[in-house]
Subunit: 418 residues, 2 copies
């Protein structure tokens, strides 16, 4: 197969479908979502059978338990996928919404209308549930989507593609609205991320190295999610109980998520009792503390943190700790080492809380709340396609709105420019 022309055909078809989708009615999109949701439940046995092909290959190839776990589809997660689609169905249609129409001195009225981006190229790991999630979000936001899942999930994705096509036909939407790349040839990805005539945005999901490679090589805008080296700053004016509760939750509720706490910063005047109590909690949960010299004076059994520790997203049972002598030092330390994902302050000091909100340069900045809240569902977006650590276009959790753009509209009655 000639991958270049195969991908080109996919691009042409997606572009064509995208103009029809841009004008599609909300009813059609919701019909698609509802019908696909039902198809998933009705065909659960066949989905599981297709997935078994992928699973047995993955096992033969000696892939690890975490990989198998992400690849596996069972009754429970098929139900979750079906429910996810129903949830997207219940969200407001963002497309066509008109905002801020104002009369201008010339007599024209100027406003903005929300429109789809066009064609999304999505590249993700062997997690077939993402196929359904991404398809649902793309259709509701009026975008065509080209899906390239991990090659180990090809049987699952190809079967899901059959159900998706059936639902598109039912809703009278173009069949090319959602296309699953059914080759495992890696050059297909290289084509996808450089077809700027056809593709408007690339969304990679997966490990840091995948995302970095895609961003470096793409000639199309990328909504990217790099590290989550999240910080909590415990101010000298914190409540001890709140600080302990939030730091414990942010670090230990789930170790491997991007919004998990990785780096603790504590004001010296608050450090002693707080760190001793916190260390007790962490020890009981087998979390290792790696501290600066000042930390080691209080917690003698802690490991010494290196410069690298302060940059690290552990995604595991380790927490770094830095003691600072002032609020300004805390701000400087965090803006220097943070990856710009999520940072929180624990304080009852009004001015420090306001300055933290303003001066910390991250996609989510929090006062007296756990970093674990940085999430599309917790923020009321209803669903998310990823979390952006960029400043350009979308920043933070990306829901339907992040998959759209706004064009200017001008309403006149014969005005000419003088």
């Amino acid at each position: 197969m000639d991958i270049k022309s195969y991908m080109r055909d996919i691009g042409v078809n997606a572009k064509k479908a995208s103009s029809q989708l841009a004008a599609a009615e909300t009813n059609q999109k919701n019909t698609f979502l509802e019908y696909l949701s039902n198809l998933l439940l009705d065909n659960a046995a066949a989905i599981i059978a297709a997935n078994k092909n992928d699973l047995s290959k993955a096992e033969d190839n000696g892939l690890d338990a975490a990989f198998i776990d992400r690849l596996k589809l069972d009754e429970k997660n098929i139900k979750a996928m079906a429910e996810g689609l129903k949830q997207i169905q219940s969200l407001d249609d963002p497309i066509g919404a008109i905002a801020n129409v104002k009369p201008m001195p010339s007599g024209i009225q100027v406003g903005k209308m929300r429109v789809p981006l066009g064609v999304i190229g999505m590249i993700f790991e062997s997690r077939p549930n993402v196929t359904i999630d991404a398809a649902g979000l793309a259709i509701k936001s009026g975008n065509a989507i080209i899906l390239r899942g991990g090659s180990e999930s090809i049987h699952s994705n190809n079967y899901l593609a059959i159900l998706i096509k059936e639902a598109l036909i039912k809703a009278n939407l173009p069949e090319s609205s959602i296309q699953v790349i059914d080759t495992t040839d890696r050059t297909a990805v290289g084509e996808l991320i450089t077809m700027h005539e056809f593709v408007d945005v690339i969304i990679p999901r997966g490990g840091k190295s995948l995302i970095k490679r895609i961003s470096d090589e793409a000639s199309i805008p990328v909504i990217k999610h790099l590290d989550g080296n999240c910080h909590i700053y415990v101010d000298e004016h914190a409540s001890l109980e709140q600080a302990l509760g939030i730091v414990d939750n942010a670090k230990t509720q789930r170790l491997g998520t991007c919004n998990t706490l990785e780096s603790l910063v504590v004001h010296k005047n608050f450090a002693e009792i707080f760190l001793i109590k916190l260390h007790g909690i962490l020890k009981s949960k087998n979390i290792e503390l790696r501290g600066c010299d000042e930390t080691l004076k209080i917690i003698k059994s802690a490991t010494k943190a290196t410069e690298d520790d302060f940059y690290e997203e552990y995604l595991g049972p380790i927490l770094s700790c830095k003691i600072v002598t002032s609020f300004d030092e805390a701000i400087r330390h965090i803006n220097h080492y943070s990856s710009g994902h999520t940072e929180a302050i624990i304080t009852n000091h009004y001015e420090n809380s306001m300055r933290f909100l303003r001066e910390i340069d991250s996609s989510s900045v929090m006062i007296n709340a756990s970093t674990r809240f940085a999430d599309g569902f917790e923020y009321g977006l209803g669903a998310e396609i990823g979390i952006s650590t960029d400043k350009f276009h979308a920043r933070g959790p990306v829901g339907l709105e992040g998959l759209t753009s706004e064009k200017y509209i001008v309403i006149g009655n014969g005005q000419i420019r003088k």
Copy 2:
């Protein structure tokens, strides 16, 4: 001089200045704008003297009259620059504005805060007034900026840089907030557009080839403005008088601007009388009409339009014309040939006007108004740094808001994730 390390120093300093600027008070920014405005007026003679150096070199090098015109600074345009700064001073400060704070079921409150992008890299032709414009917009939006003007304007820009520095000091803002690259070495541009550790966005201003080259080579997001192949569709339900007035204005008021009409599309049922009358107006203004076969049947003296004509941004005294047999054909024709800048419909038909607004995929879509209105001032933005023909991030005229981003803020009182 080692350009790589020279540019790196500029980048490091800009990045450092940008964090101070992000936290600067509105008063400081306005002091800078007011003081610089006064400095321009007080030092007009010295500005003109510095500019004379550039002008005489440009004349020696045989550059054309249009080039000299853009390069030249006189009392009149120094006054306009000073007034532009006062206008930016009068605009609301976008930075720190908090919007849409809503309580979530978990008890946290989630909203968004507007923040600067960080560091802007601006590359432009030998038009020294852009130096002042861009400096003013960058400071008001809380961004540091690195300016690279055309090499033929280096004396003017270096003198303006002295005044800028004085105004920054007066306002107690970091001197590196605005840096003018004072080498004409072209490798400096190559460095600027790839220093993604320091620069957050690149804004090129100038000819299409400059912008294309920058976009192709930059590894940093670019706010780009490519062609303005603007269309007007005259529907079968148009008012003859409105159609003639708007098409005349859009084509002939200024021939060389990006929002000038280049391509006319007319419904066959409206074409005959309309085109005969329009042709009379165009002839009297020496505008050439290039038409499709159907157009030539009505206007026998018109030139035959080629396929290339329909793609062309003439920026001159030529108008292409295509007669269509349906509204749907008009939409398809425009979305195919347009560059996505600005398109208008002339109609009194409700459904056609609404479908046009929704289905045309351009940065500005208008009903019964001249395409010449596509402009930051006419849209009430107060000032513009350019017009974006992209969909990603900013689309259409880009004012202060286009130079900003929004981060999520979370306000809690001890909430943890369950």
